[in-house]
Symmetry: C2
Subunit: 400 residues, 2 copies
């Protein structure tokens, strides 16, 4: 498996474009991704109950399991826009389907940006026409830029590997920022492949891959109204179809995991206001679910995150966050290490010298926090950021 | 019912003292509260699974339902101190019981301050002797100061009312700060009364009162390892015993609710880093539990709190926080008002003019946020603060 350039357009039969349709003043704000041949598709959407109109539309479209194209705009989330928002999302889909000559059920829509303002539908509709005229096999980067809101740069990645001697490419783009700006930076991720995979298998594969990547990052614990991850497979590679329970599937899943893992890392790494990226790992829990809950509780704790910012090995806050997480564990068994420097054993501190050594590691922009509960074999890891002064300043918007 | 001075020592038969035993350099750090006659007692402790040694001790003592005295130190939480911490807490209790001539089961211990450092036990033991010599009926204020950590001022309140023509006093103290400093400001609350109430009835009464007060405040969503609320009743008033299901109990509960309510308010109001106090009320939920969960989710949302700080009526973030709370509701039915200015109806915004009027109210140091889900009769309110730049700065400690 090796990295290649081109992002989502490195995939055979995928073309893309990114243009400015006028939602933003002059920056790219409309992305189009088209598969020359209809593809199977799977997706996961936000679990936030306040779902934006395009998310609700995607959920319905996903039932059909087929994908031809997606149009994604930035600058407006089309969320909390009521009945009109639903009509605007549907009209967007219908116009693209009509111009492409594909069934409406195979066309998807996504939006990210301001919540609560009506989508400038006429700009989007004329933008679709223009974007169609600019589709190309090198358009992946422009499309990746056109879905940005608070990101400091576009995020794309592609890998090529071989199954039975035939090349397969998986390529994708994402947006989402380690620091959430005033308009709630949604996470969007679109991944394509030229492998041939059935829709049901794609669904299982995506759920597994997302569980340890996109669902294992946290920035400020706030779930967007617009998050979507889409994975589509157009079968245009010469490799034979991938079946469940085969070594070929394992290779494919590993490559997909790499793609999503790296896009998720880029999301956490990006953004103003975050100065550090921390991998919080919990092991030794009774269940895998417990490990995830505990890791998230520590990763989301405001006091733990400010200690990260302060490069302060304040393990008492970590113990408090674990204790408040809701899982059952024995505080007297807990072991904590920072970049493999032990600072807590059997629930008590190992002393100031250990804490000083740990604090030195915390001056780096990335470090690991490992928590062993010594109660079982559950394990989970989460990526998170620190919480800095800049966070509140950026998100207050009108003051300071 | 009317306010009176004296805090916990306004209660008949309660004496208190606050001294400096040397845990802190020169500030008061040891509080002693004694009831001349043994009292019935009820208490609630933190639900954090990482419980400090004094908390575990209190939980055992509470089973007996009797109270004679409590010694509470600040400057050291005696948390995450292992076996030694448990021995130190027990030794503290035993020394006080011995010097007072009361059973050890009636003596309580509390600590607040740094986590993970051993309690300076010899200072505490000699401090107990000194504090005993200074017990007085005006010692409430010094005791309230001696339990402070990050609080900017002591917190005490007392009320007097009559039952069947006889006066009853309820008085209490608390500590805990609207902004949590590097050492995790625990909430401690000690309330005494000269009413005569059985221990079982006291337990029920306390649980109800705490539910809408101390369990309905949030500052940064972080639960301490040391939180304790104690309520004791020594029966030294001339009023007849209070029984369940009587109008007298209603009067007593209303007075207790006022006491806890005001102490909880003082806690949220206090502290560096918070510039605003907001009452978040959710109504119209399917259940009361749903209302509490939703109110807490909104009150704890980093994005909502930074919007409060920015005096920005960003209702989209409130919709997102509701949607992520886990309760079931229909976003298309949601109504939101700020200080009774409607800004959202049926899940969509009411326009920029309404938001501007709301933003004007948000310049005040206190305002109300009301969310109506229009799905039932559940209701709950939570007090919270904004999230300012100062928060991260204070809690980083070593940097910035």
């Amino acid at each position: 498996m090796r990295d290649i350039a081109g992002g989502i357009t490195a995939v055979k039969g995928i073309r893309a474009a990114g243009i400015c349709c006028g939602i933003k003043k002059s920056a790219l704000d409309l992305a189009l991704i088209v598969s020359d041949r209809p593809a199977t598709v799977a997706g996961v959407t936000t679990t936030n109950q306040t779902k934006a109109a395009p998310v609700l539309l995607c959920e319905r479209q996903l039932k059909g399991g087929k994908f031809s194209a997606i149009v994604a705009n930035s600058g407006n989330a089309n969320a909390c826009t009521g009945r009109q928002g639903a009509l605007d999302a549907a009209q967007t889909r219908d116009r693209l389907a009509q111009l492409l000559g594909r069934p409406t059920g195979e066309v998807f829509v996504a939006s990210t940006g301001v919540i609560g303002k009506r989508l400038p539908i006429s700009k989007v509709l004329s933008g679709i026409r223009e974007a169609l005229g600019r589709l190309s096999v090198t358009g992946g980067e422009a499309a990746a830029r056109a879905i940005m809101t608070t990101d400091t740069q576009q995020k794309e990645v592609a890998v090529r590997f071989e199954l039975d001697g035939k090349p397969i490419v998986i390529g994708g783009m994402a947006k989402g920022s380690g620091m959430i700006a005033p308009n709630l930076a949604t996470m969007l991720c679109f991944v394509g492949t030229d492998a041939r995979v059935s829709a049901p298998l794609l669904r299982r594969v995506l759920r597994r891959a997302v569980g340890d990547t996109f669902n294992a990052i946290t920035v400020d614990g706030c779930m967007s109204t617009n998050d979507i991850v889409l994975l589509f497979a157009n079968g245009m590679s010469d490799a034979p179809p991938i079946k469940a329970g085969t070594p070929q599937l394992d290779v494919f899943e590993e490559a997909l995991f790499q793609i999503l893992s790296r896009l998720a890392y880029m999301i956490v790494k990006d953004g103003e206001g975050a100065t550090k990226l921390i991998r919080v790992e919990v092991r030794g829990s009774r269940t895998a679910h417990d490990a995830r809950v505990a890791a998230m509780a520590v990763a989301n704790s405001a006091l733990v995150k400010t200690a990260f910012f302060g490069e302060d090995c304040n393990w008492g806050r970590i113990m408090a966050a674990l204790g408040a997480s809701g899982i059952r564990f024995d505080p007297n068994c807990v072991e904590i290490a920072l970049d493999r420097i032990p600072v807590v054993r059997k629930g008590v501190g190992l002393g100031a010298a250990a804490e000083r050594r740990a604090a030195v590691r915390m001056r780096r922009p990335e470090f690991d926090l490992t928590i062993d509960l010594h109660k079982g074999t559950g394990q989970a890891a989460v990526l998170t950021t620190d919480l800095s002064e800049a966070y509140a300043r950026i998100n207050a918007g009108y003051r300071s």
